[in-house]
Symmetry: C4
Subunit: 230 residues, 4 copies
């Protein structure tokens, strides 16, 4: 294999996109398997009511993966080719993304544990109970996925051969900074999870929605500015 000939290859980029889209699409859809259908003998309404931590986890992960996917297709928009490093950084990103149904399941099961009737709790909650561990494991997964997104973007930013022209350079730099901020905020929220597990999950949701909605707001502002200047 000659990575040199891979460089600047549009064909390799098409497969880079297709494979990544595949993984994102599957992971975002597999999340639904963590939502358990109550069995025929259980009381449907109360069971659905009790399962809210699962739905919360589902929405956090869906919004987070949606946000990462939007970022990923933005990167894809900036580049013309992929190199061997980019392909591998991307695979590590996909590793952490594809772990999310697992860590979301841990969060949903053990955040749920804390609101269970007392008789179903079989262990005391010492210094670092299962809730905290679940919230921190989930937060660490989100942080690592955000970190890999940042590293992918930064690699594109630093490698001149990948980007088609110089005009995008400034945009790319701003985008890289934005992804860096996302890593720091997510890491801080994970640290909060050690002390206040439930609060941290709400912060995770807030961050996921913020990074999902954020560009929309920018777009509206820019469009208004453009319209005024015309």
């Amino acid at each position: 294999m000659s990575p040199v000939s891979l460089l600047l290859s549009a064909k390799a980029k098409a497969r880079f996109d297709a494979f990544s889209d595949g993984v994102f699409a599957i992971v975002i859809t597999l999340l639904v398997l963590e939502l358990h259908v109550p069995a025929g003998r259980q009381h449907l309404a109360s069971t659905l009511g009790e399962e809210w931590p699962r739905y919360l986890g589902y929405f956090v992960s869906f919004a987070f993966i949606g946000g990462i996917w939007v970022a990923h297709s933005t990167i894809s928009h900036f580049i013309e080719a992929v190199d061997a490093t980019l392909m591998r950084l991307n695979l590590v990103l996909l590793l952490f993304v594809s772990l999310l149904p697992f860590t979301t399941g841990i969060l949903a099961t053990h955040l749920f544990a804390s609101v269970l009737p007392i008789d179903r709790v079989t262990e005391p909650l010492p210094g670092f109970g299962p809730e905290r561990l679940a919230v921190v494991v989930f937060g660490a997964n989100l942080t690592l996925a955000a970190l890999m997104t940042f590293l992918v973007v930064r690699h594109v930013d630093k490698t001149d051969e990948l980007a088609p022209d110089d005009r995008v350079e400034e945009e790319l730099r701003g985008f890289t900074r934005g992804r860096g901020t996302a890593v720091v905020l997510q890491a801080l929220a994970t640290v909060v999870g050690v002390f206040l597990p439930v609060v941290a999950v709400v912060v995770y949701l807030g961050l996921a929605i913020f990074f999902f909605v954020d560009p929309l707001w920018i777009e509206r502002v820019r469009r208004r500015v453009r319209n005024q200047s015309t």
Copy 2:
């Protein structure tokens, strides 16, 4: 990220298509996981006979998702580019589509409950029994997915920068109206589900098949008209 440069991007549209196709393909295939294979010790013929609510749910969801996918690729046919709003509206649409295996499972399990031998029913059926709740939850999911499809189509219709030329405008308007009607009919059928659960499921199936087959009928008529005018 500069949403402005995303606008009118054919590259971003390719990924928009690929990601959506991926999610639709996975969801329509995951539905099969809700069809349980009877274990070796059960009587196969009678078990398969008892499981008809599962097969009914499967066909409703398959036809519904098939119809949404056809609508989605029709939208894709009308546009040349995607903007940040379209990507997000689409992700919310995909959220409700990817919830369908879960709500189909709820429908299948609890519509089934009503035809179970009496001794397996462990709860009385008060005012709002599990059947009704299951049918309404499933109907609400279908309604929300139909609503998001409508909002996606309407956004494309309203945003001049996305559509390639003016000739499609009239078609696009008619298509938007059609999707709006679908939302209203699906919402009405869901209301019927509160009072007549089983009837509502049959209406869901009818609507899914109607919106799936509908364009076929139009095509035949148009083709005949075209042939006569030649």
Copy 3:
């Protein structure tokens, strides 16, 4: 939606391909979920040995879906555009393809039942035992999938607007005949399943492999002929 404008649309064809490839890829991969990993307490070697009907079912379905996918991409090779009828015929084909993990599971579980130690069989085997039913349900699914493939090919063959030029007409006719033969043979094998369940499964496997390998053999002959005439 104007099906007339959909006609001859290369864009719609790209999504037709992508969605179909997605469903085929997912179904062929989901089959693996029917192969149960023996739990830690079971004796691994003997369990793996007992599970042979599952592996047989897996290979039949894998070879069958592989063959259908090759046929599907051959169709795709012949056409330049899709119309509304083709999209719907294709969705019905995908319906029967995506049911295969379910019917393969039924086959694997109940063909397995017949080789279980006697004490685990809890029902007498009357005229139409579970084995036969399982083999016939699976065969019917294969037959319906083969039938839809035939109908898709025939629609392409009959609709002049879909194929790019006249030169392929003869090839297309031969291909349609071949797919018709596949339907008849698969239907006959399913009838055999009523009387000789185990034999029928072997015939299913033979047919799947034959239709998978068949074009290879033709290619070798043609290549040799071409080389001799040069």
Copy 4:
């Protein structure tokens, strides 16, 4: 079907890529289903600690599939068309790739068995215990997948009509040799598994990471050489 007209078909190649990317993406994501979320009543921290053989198996398979996918898109980069043989060799490769979640599950469950508290082991470990069998089955699967990758590459190398020009010939030959070496090393590691199961798994991981990272190292060297010569 005329394989001759399939030959040199860019359209068929697009579907070859899309279908393969789909299968790779799904398999690499399905692996996560083998990671069990501990139930609410279990002690989370200790359960996560005990489950390390599952995580080890997950990483081996993820790195291995990632490496095969990189190799696959490199092949795709070399060719302009697909023939009937290539499509079938590729489907057999995908067969062994899609079996990996199953054999990874066997490895994870039975490598785990050996570190279970004694009272949970219900069988004596004779000459060829479940651990060894699990490690060998998993290694055989990796070897067969590596072998099919080699056969796919060699077929491309030997078939002049598939590669676009002569310049890539030397690179292609080197790539084929590299994939051959991978098969031999993986087969040797599997033999080691008969005697030293746990060591073999570590070697599997090492090989997977080596073939994943290897081209990166080459790229750095070449880039440095290129920069010095400028």
